[in-house]
Symmetry: C2
Subunit: 165 residues, 2 copies
């Protein structure tokens, strides 16, 4: 489990840096936090073992790879007990980047990236609608994503800001 672990102020500060830049050198973090690099190393390792840190990812702009269309799809299931099978099928679709089981009129909410509207249409009609257990879908195209960030860790921190170089 990932529970039963105390994340103190320094841990949060470490995370606040790494959440913004996963390749930030530990030594630089150490300087910002005022402790040694070894301490950073130990703390990060501990948080990884505790499951607080799930991994790290380079952020690629979908548009740069030719994925111009972002859309959310609300999915209704014909029988709610077919959830597992539907998930398995969705995992095989490279266009799907998120899949949630949600409350409300839709059982499942998907987020996906497609090359263009034609590609989106193809994915909806030829793939998603053909998955056994899926009865109906409703699509919301994202025209603009204004906010994209991680879960809140800590304020940017007043950073001791060494007076001068």
């Amino acid at each position: 489990m990932a529970d039963k672990f105390e994340v103190d102020e320094i841990d949060r500060k470490i995370l606040s840096f790494l959440v913004k830049n996963a390749r930030m050198p530990f030594l630089e973090i150490a300087r910002e936090c005022g402790i040694s690099g070894a301490a950073i190393h130990q703390r990060v390792k501990k948080m990884e073992e505790a499951g607080i840190i799930a991994g790290s990812r380079l952020t690629v702009k979908p548009k740069a790879l030719g994925f111009d269309v972002c859309a959310f799809v609300g999915v209704q299931l014909s029988q709610s007990n077919q959830y597992d099978g539907v998930i398995s099928a969705l995992k095989l679709m490279p266009e799907v980047v998120e899949c949630h089981f949600i409350t409300g009129p839709y059982a499942v909410l998907l987020k996906l990236f497609c090359r263009d509207n034609e590609h989106l249409m193809e994915v909806l009609v030829n793939t998603i609608q053909n998955i056994p257990g899926i009865s109906n879908t409703e699509t919301f195209i994202s025209l603009n994503q204004a906010i994209e960030r991680q879960v809140y860790v800590k304020d940017p921190s007043p950073s001791p800001k060494k007076a001068k170089k």
Copy 2:
């Protein structure tokens, strides 16, 4: 702009590794790709400058930081021209991690993380509903996130596995 850039097979392969692990050493990538570390470095740098790579992020499990509730909120605006002001207000809310302007009955779709249902309630009633320009909201709580990944870059690749050195 981030356009007008050709991402070739090697670039895609580099990205496919870094998308899964942003801290993967360039030299290790170099070995997998069969070219030198300097070449990897140059390509990554070029992709950063071209805007293909937006940055890198450590992935933190929200639950480990006490954010047990993930929810999507569909927001209707009283006047669609108030979009900018609404976005500014939403950016100040640490609970909001995504904000999209979408087609369909809702003008805006939010994704947010809260500590618990009480916190969610407070955010909805005391904060979101008070933002000028927001007329109505509908909330979908995510009971389970089954898929979480980046935009599709490339298949894991059969890795040419250098026959010998």
